[in-house]
Symmetry: C2
Subunit: 334 residues, 2 copies
């Protein structure tokens, strides 16, 4: 799916800034995609974009209203509906990564049809995918993998893509989850793909390319997560990554959502990811460790990263504190 | 899904015996489920069951017509349709594991609705599943895993289930693919489940049980298959197997459907499956090797199995030639 740009970011009635983190992510990584933000009266978030109503957004060139806020309790309220309908009427498409689908709300479906507009529910793939062939593809690929879910894989992938582009190296971020799709405007939510086609979907997402081009593929889950490792395995095999980056959140006490499961040992995590990756790309190697140290003091963060770097012999950085330049240096070596 | 028994096996216009291998499997493993077979004039297969027309099958107590034959080119012919409608009219349910769905043929859907009959397309789960919890379940579980796809995992699982039952040990075969579901009358086609829920589906399929009970779960794919290892990983994690059985076809020259991929080394395959299985069951161990030696002479077969047994220290058998008693002995030790 390919969402038309630029966007009007819908922050709705976000009850705090965190509720609008999807909008924040779009603004952070692609300010050039954003003509403005739409905030309802009670909105507690702010992306520091011009506040535009639907008419003004349309006049400013907006093509799509992107819902950049979580809806509480999974309910799309009547107040939201009024605005979404106004956007369709004005000729905007809609895009959302919500659990409940725009395309299951009859009055929106009818109106979109009447107005010839598209509604993207990015969690739900509309395309069918082939079974993976495992055939080697041209071009280069990088893939962040995690000790756990939600440890910074998307952030790391976006930062690497930006760093490559800043060095004039051709690169694309390939989104595999709903936030990544909304941030970048395209991608496939792989955990919503039928399991026979996980690897095939990733092969389609990151196709043959020129030899010097990098696809930086958003990672998902963890090989050590008892709920999601199947997705991770299929993603790794489809990615055929040349360069792996281990992402880690050092204060996690157990695997996300499953208190019975401890975080894996870092070396075991490097080893198993490499074993898996080498099935479809025998040249796969780790090029760095990306640590989310947001819960540590600067002193503790740097001490930890120094220790990890010494222990595993890989450039170890916090992408938020330091950027990913050292990892990209290592990726591009040889 | 739970298909009503007994069955009338529909062999249709099978162009050779192999085309009716699903029917053959049902007859082999559960002759007590089968009241008879329905063969069209040109049928080249025979399950050695009474030939019954729809009326006679109904009179003999049949509850479901099971399509036990592959349809050529994925087309359900007009000739088949006449018989399927006759079955619905007579009060039989229908079950099939075809790529194209009975439930997508409007005239069948209408008739089934009018007659209050069910149509099972066993490839396509109708249930939704939770995300796996990873929580340890009571009871015991066995899982065959493979060096490749289609190496005898279903056959091995069915044979182990039967051997356990013959020893009066409570056991259930848990089907995870379309043939297994039709053979056993229940199960979940895991490769058709949305990838976020693979492990969750297997947790539902093989739930808590009494301490002495064995669920023998049908394996799928291979951790070394570049197209399907995501399914295999999710299945292994959901299974929480106590006992793993390695299934192998020694004459395979490459991974099924992917000529670029060699078969894995046996030791590497044991190691990786054990690593994966121990995430959700640290006590997991291999209890045997099951070799499909159908393409070898008896002499070569036994020489190979002797060699594998000496090398890996595990009871090594061909379930078709020798049965699985030695593997079950080892499963039940301690």
């Amino acid at each position: 799916m390919e969402i038309q740009k630029p966007y009007l970011l819908f922050l709705g009635d976000a009850h705090d800034p965190l509720a609008a983190k999807v909008a924040q992510g779009i603004k952070q990584w692609h300010p050039e995609y954003c003509v403005g933000q739409f905030r309802m009266e009670e909105c507690q978030a702010d992306c520091e974009l011009p506040d535009l109503d639907i008419e003004a957004a349309k006049a400013a060139g907006a093509k799509t209203l992107v819902i950049g806020v979580a809806n509480r309790g999974g309910i799309i309220s009547d107040k939201w509906l009024v605005i979404l309908k106004e956007a369709l009427n004005a000729g905007l498409d809609l895009a959302a990564g919500l659990h409940n689908q725009l395309n299951e709300i009859p009055e929106l479906v009818e109106l979109a049809k009447a107005k010839g507009r598209k509604m993207f529910d990015v969690r739900f793939p509309t395309q069918t995918f082939p079974v993976a062939s495992g055939k080697k593809r041209s071009g280069k690929r990088a893939l962040p993998v995690g000790t756990d879910c939600s440890v910074g894989k998307m952030y790391t992938a976006l930062a690497i893509t930006e760093e490559l582009k800043s060095r004039k190296i051709p690169a694309d971020f390939r989104a595999t989850g709903q936030t990544g799709i909304l941030v970048s405007g395209a991608g496939v939510c792989v955990d919503s793909v039928v399991s026979d086609f996980i690897s095939g979907a990733v092969e389609v997402l990151a196709p043959d390319n020129t030899p010097e081009h990098w696809d930086v593929i958003e990672g998902q889950g963890s090989l050590f997560h008892p709920s999601f490792a199947g997705v991770t395995t299929g993603l790794i095999h489809g990615a055929q990554a040349d360069a792996l980056i281990l992402c880690h959140e050092p204060t996690r006490e157990h695997m996300r959502g499953t208190p019975e499961y401890k975080l894996p040992d870092i070396q075991a995590c490097l080893d198993l990811n490499l074993t898996m990756a080498r099935l479809t790309n025998p040249a796969a190697k780790f090029v760095g460790i990306s640590v989310n140290t947001s819960k540590l003091s600067e002193k503790d963060a740097f001490a930890l990263m120094e220790k990890l770097e010494a222990e595993y012999g890989l450039p170890t950085i916090d992408p938020f504190r330091q950027g990913v330049a050292r990892i990209v240096d290592n990726m591009l070596k040889d």
